[in-house]
């Protein structure tokens, strides 16, 4: 085994080595536990780095320095934040439904962590190589909504409930385009397994990879997926459910101390996992972007892509203002859904139009025309006069 290969498989080797100390019948369980521990350690660590990156990045975009007090250049800020949230008083409102109030953050974090089980972070590095991996991820992702509504409802606070209602409306609306935009990758691969989807994108033409994002339907699907993912994780510009200026913090208004930190963690982990799945579906997962860069370990590629995705999300957050509720819904049902449905048809056509260059032109033209036409209708100026009220006689 060459050095490159051993670096690529270093974590697998490590896992097998540690499991070797245990009796044979215990080894599968030990290996599973090790992988779980790795996920539980790695992604919260990335979350911590993400928070400080986000604060510093947003600061720079607004011509500020960002946090710069704790540790050199403020990189120990997450440690200080963690200690602060642990030592804070945990307040439960007097009229709150105590059990549900307590369970909501746990359900959120558990559901989000379960999503990482089917995320391939490197060659052979997936906790469960499930045949219906993608399906599992979306099913688990849908239960995040449950925890959000639990939080909003149990707090017995009108702002929490409003935030939760907004979040549910938004997440259900955007779940449809999210699913439909990722279905194209499944259609072309012919499998729901996340590892198979990554392997299907593994080839190269010349030095360029066969990532799905470099096809017309894949590009459209990727854009739709990113937009839907932003909405699904309540990131800016779709952060109305927790709009700081209107709803304090939305559904977790009544949470304090470590429960608040858990919500925060759940939200960022949700962003990480959905970014990971975007990478898996459209950006070739752990594959190298050029054929001559294959010597870099696969897991490193995955995390570099994840870093790029997070940076892009931060960049968007620093750029875009928050949408209004009606704009959000119009965008989901009048633009995202038709585009996603059309993209399914285009992906089917791509599959059956044969290998030539014709399919590139046909698919691109159809998608671009739809984009122009739908965009024009969406951007058409609505004549909004003064509101008129009609009262009962």
């Amino acid at each position: 085994m060459s050095f490159i290969q051993s670096m690529d498989q270093i974590f697998i080797t490590l896992q097998h080595w540690i499991a070797g100390f245990f009796p044979l019948w215990l080894q599968p369980a030990v290996m599973a536990i090790l992988a779980v521990v790795a996920i539980l350690g790695a992604f919260p660590a990335i979350f911590a780095v993400t928070t400080v990156l986000e604060r510093k990045g947003l600061g720079r975009m607004q011509n500020r320095l960002g946090p710069n007090r704790v540790g050199p250049l403020g990189i120990l800020q997450p440690v200080a934040d963690g200690i602060k949230s642990l030592t804070k008083e945990d307040i439960v409102p007097f009229t709150a439904d105590g059990l549900v109030h307590f369970l909501a953050p746990l359900v959120l974090v558990t559901a989000v962590f379960l999503g990482f089980a089917v995320l391939p972070v490197g060659r052979n590095m997936v906790l469960v190589n499930m045949d219906a991996g993608l399906f599992f991820f979306f099913a688990i992702g849908a239960s995040v909504e449950l925890s959000i509504f639990m939080a909003g409802w149990s707090s017995r606070n009108k702002y929490s409930l409003l935030g939760a209602m907004r979040a549910i409306a938004q997440m259900i609306s955007y779940e449809v385009p999210l699913l439909l935009s990722s279905v194209v990758a499944v259609m072309i691969t012919g499998s729901l397994s996340t590892t198979k989807i990554v392997e299907a994108q593994g080839g190269f033409t010349g030095i360029f990879p066969h990532w799905y994002v470099f096809t017309p339907w894949g590009f459209a699907g990727f854009i739709l997926f990113v937009i839907a993912a932003l909405a699904e994780t309540n990131r800016s510009p779709f952060d109305l459910p927790e709009g700081e200026s209107e709803l304090v913090a939305g559904y977790f208004t009544e949470y304090s101390g470590f429960k608040f930190a858990l919500f925060f963690l759940g939200e960022y982990l949700g962003m990480l996992s959905i970014a990971g799945f975007g990478i898996t579906l459209f950006l070739g997962g752990w594959g190298a972007p050029f054929s001559f860069l294959g010597f870099i370990p696969s897991w490193l590629w995955f995390f570099l892509k994840l870093f790029a995705a997070i940076s892009f999300f931060i960049w968007l957050r620093g750029t875009l203002p928050r949408l209004r509720q009606d704009q959000l819904m119009n965008f989901a049902w009048k633009f995202m859904l038709p585009m996603a449905l059309l993209n399914l048809v285009v992906a089917g056509a791509w599959r059956f139009l044969g290998e030539g260059w014709q399919r590139w032109i046909i698919c691109s033209v159809v998608l671009l025309a739809a984009y122009f036409l739908l965009g024009r209708t969406l951007m058409r100026h609505q004549k909004l006069g003064p509101r008129s009220y009609r009262y009962a006689e």
Binding site: M61, N63, W315, T319
Partner: protein
């Protein structure tokens, strides 16, 4: 086209992001404990008591009239009037506060106490680094802590302090002139009284 403005916006933020690393002028924030900018002249936060002369307690302009205590919207001023009197800046005997407390954790910096004070005794400070670990006693300032010299007032609000000094001087001059006039009148009256001593008994009705 849909999405065009988003790309433009992304370009703007990217430019600001990169620019913040290369140009110092772009940075809008001040690194506070190390760098400071002087407060503008009209800055105000909490009221202080102004005194004249060297001794803070003897020179307090406050005469314990308690108008500010009554006018204070959040009721954060506590005054106890003295039993005896001491002369004020024009020499008139006045009461003085034996206790003058302001609870700055309650104060809302509205400046109404300053506006109602007829003696120019209470003015707004600019000191803002007042954090303390004792949130009750540490934020209840007594008259020793509140007393600030007129020179200090001049240093924080020069224009306003000059106006106040001019007004006080004018008032003092007016009072002195009045006193002088009164004294002169009294002297003249006494002189007239002394010049015509016989007339007075004549006016008395005879028994």
């Amino acid at each position: 086209m849909l999405g065009e403005a988003i790309l433009k916006g992304l370009a703007v933020t990217a430019k600001n992001f990169a620019g913040s690393f290369v140009s110092e002028e772009r940075m809008t924030t001040v690194q506070y404990p190390e760098e400071r900018i002087a407060p503008i002249e009209n800055t105000r936060d909490f009221p202080v008591l102004i005194y004249d002369g060297a001794d803070p307690m003897a020179g307090l302009r406050c005469v314990a009239c308690q108008i500010c205590e009554k006018e204070c919207p959040p009721k954060c001023i506590y005054i106890t009037k003295s039993a005896d009197k001491k002369p004020d800046y024009v020499g008139k005997p006045q009461f003085y506060p034996t206790r003058f407390d302001i609870d700055i954790s309650v104060c809302m910096s509205c400046q109404i106490c300053v506006e109602v004070c007829p003696f120019e005794a209470i003015k707004m400070d600019t000191e803002f680094e007042l954090s303390t670990t004792d949130r009750f006693g540490g934020l209840l300032f007594d008259r020793e802590q509140l007393a600030k010299s007129n020179e200090y007032y001049h240093s924080i609000h020069p224009t306003e302090a000059a106006e106040v000094d001019a007004r006080l001087a004018e008032e003092k001059a007016k009072t002195e002139a009045k006193a002088k006039a009164a004294a002169e009148a009294a002297a003249a009256k006494a002189a007239i009284a002394a010049a015509t001593p016989k007339e007075a008994p004549a006016k008395e009705p005879l028994p």
